[in-house]
């Protein structure tokens, strides 16, 4: 058994074997296998409705797959000793912002990880969110909501980022900043899984799964 605690020298690793998902009688995807180590980026591409989001939700553990296994550091993620969720940050289509709270309260409403104040202000600065921090989330525009949600991921200090179409709704400068941040995360040994429509701008991935062919 390998030592997998935080700060140990062992690298984190995510291994997916023959994942498949059926809903009622329809096949969403099947025979998905890949291996992701630190510093690697996996891109899941495909047209609308090919099951990109479903695949991400299965990888996160939100949806139970029909078949296949997900291993985090050689341990199945449904194993009680597996500390998968400690290292995972997920952002789907829903931005998980509570409309009745302000942007600041939404950002504070995460209870894991402690980031420096400098880092927080630089991220908010780059996204141009400083002016809007005390507005209720329901008053923000879609792009701003997305930026708040993304800031939460960027500030989370988690190893594995799973982002569903991260650049959707973002303006040019926001996109540039996000891509740079994602690159920096990979350089620090982070792991990244993203989806994109084929025409989206994104980082060059280490590996790619195209659901159109499957």
């Amino acid at each position: 058994m390998t030592q997998t605690g935080r700060g140990s020298l062992t690298q984190h690793n995510l291994q997916i074997n023959f994942l498949e998902l059926y809903r009622n009688d329809d096949r969403i995807f099947s025979e998905i296998s890949f291996d992701l180590s630190e510093g690697q980026h996996l891109l899941i591409s495909g047209a609308n409705g090919t099951g990109k989001t479903s695949l991400l939700r299965v990888i996160c553990g939100l949806t139970i797959p029909t078949g296949g296994t997900i291993l985090w550091n050689q341990l199945a993620t449904n194993n009680i000793d597996c500390r998968y969720h400690e290292h995972l940050a997920y952002l789907g289509h829903k931005n998980a912002l509570i409309p009745e709270l302000t942007a600041r309260e939404n950002l504070e409403y995460t209870f894991e990880g402690n980031r420096s104040i400098n880092r927080t202000s630089s991220v908010l600065e780059a996204f141009g969110l400083n002016k809007y921090l005390d507005q209720y989330a329901e008053k923000l525009s879609n792009g701003q909501i997305r930026k708040v949600a993304l800031s939460r991921i960027l500030l989370s200090e988690k190893t594995l980022w799973i982002l569903d179409e991260p650049v959707a709704n973002l303006d040019t400068s926001g996109t540039q900043f996000l891509l740079a941040e994602m690159q920096a995360h990979l350089d620090q040994g982070g792991m990244l899984i993203t989806t994109s429509n084929l025409n989206d701008q994104t980082l060059k991935p280490n590996s790619e799964i195209n659901l159109d062919k499957a």
């Binding site: 809903r23 009622n24 009688d25 139970i64």
Partner: protein, 250 residues
């Protein structure tokens, strides 16, 4: 019967074949038993000294009430097995139990009311047994409606399984609170159908009817479970060869 052979029942092809093979036997034997039981209950058994011929309704009321409760427990046990082993067979069984159980509950209520009308003068008194039966009907309806309103099958299976388990834990509590409440309301009602000592010629038709109803339940359940399994497994080769026959392989 060792553990391994029980485990094998979880395989859909085997269970499907078992359902198909056993269903006619269940049906025939239950029809025979019910015919004998009905003859015994309606013609052979002597009239009750207190209730006269009206007591013959128990030959229809007690078996359906018994099956309605047994079906709920069966459904909950299947639900637990389904949740633990994610077994399609167990989920199909649980789902098929619900409409059958609900119809037996309905029968128990109707015959109970038909019994109550001449005995108490009204079709409905808040008798503990009838009230619990009514609550059981609501639990069945909740199960069926929840299953209908969730479109994704595996999600519906698991959500309703939770409901069935919660229901089966609650049934004794509900039953005893109704009994307790009832004893406080009405000092003495003749709410017990079966007296402690019952004449043999009155008892044997009842036992046979209960047996017949149970087998009938098994017959309905096999038929419905086979149908449910067929829907779920329609992509598999074993079912396709079973249904289309050897043409498919040629």
């Amino acid at each position: 019967m060792n553990l391994k052979s029980i485990y094998k029942l979880g395989s859909p092809p085997l269970f499907y074949k078992l359902c198909i093979v056993l269903e006619p036997w269940y049906l025939i034997s239950s029809i025979l038993l019910i015919a004998v039981g009905m003859y015994g209950g309606l013609f052979v058994a002597p009239p009750d000294y207190q209730m006269g011929d009206a007591f013959r309704i128990i030959y229809f009321h007690v078996p359906s009430a018994y099956v309605s409760m047994m079906a709920y427990v069966f459904m909950a046990v299947s639900a637990i097995i389904g949740l633990t082993w994610r077994s399609n067979v167990a989920f199909s069984l649980a789902k098929s139990c619900a409409p059958i159980g609900a119809s037996f509950t309905f029968l128990a209520l109707i015959t109970g009311m038909l019994w109550g009308k001449p005995m108490w003068g009204t079709a409905w008194v808040w008798d503990a047994r009838l009230t619990s039966e009514l609550i059981l009907l609501f639990l069945y309806l909740a199960y069926i409606m929840l299953h209908l309103s969730i479109p994704d099958r595996s999600k519906a299976d698991r959500a309703t399984a939770l409901l069935a388990i919660v229901g089966v834990v609650n049934i004794p509590i509900i039953h005893y609170s109704v009994v307790w409440w009832n004893t406080l309301h009405q000092a003495s009602t003749i709410s017990k159908f079966a007296k402690p000592s019952i004449a043999t010629e009155m008892l044997w038709p009842l036992v046979i009817m209960i047996l017949g109803y149970t087998l009938l339940f098994a017959a309905f359940l096999s038929k419905r479970t086979a149908a449910e399994l067929a829907v779920r497994e329609k992509r598999t080769r074993w079912l396709q060869t079973l249904i289309v026959g050897d043409k498919n392989n040629a």
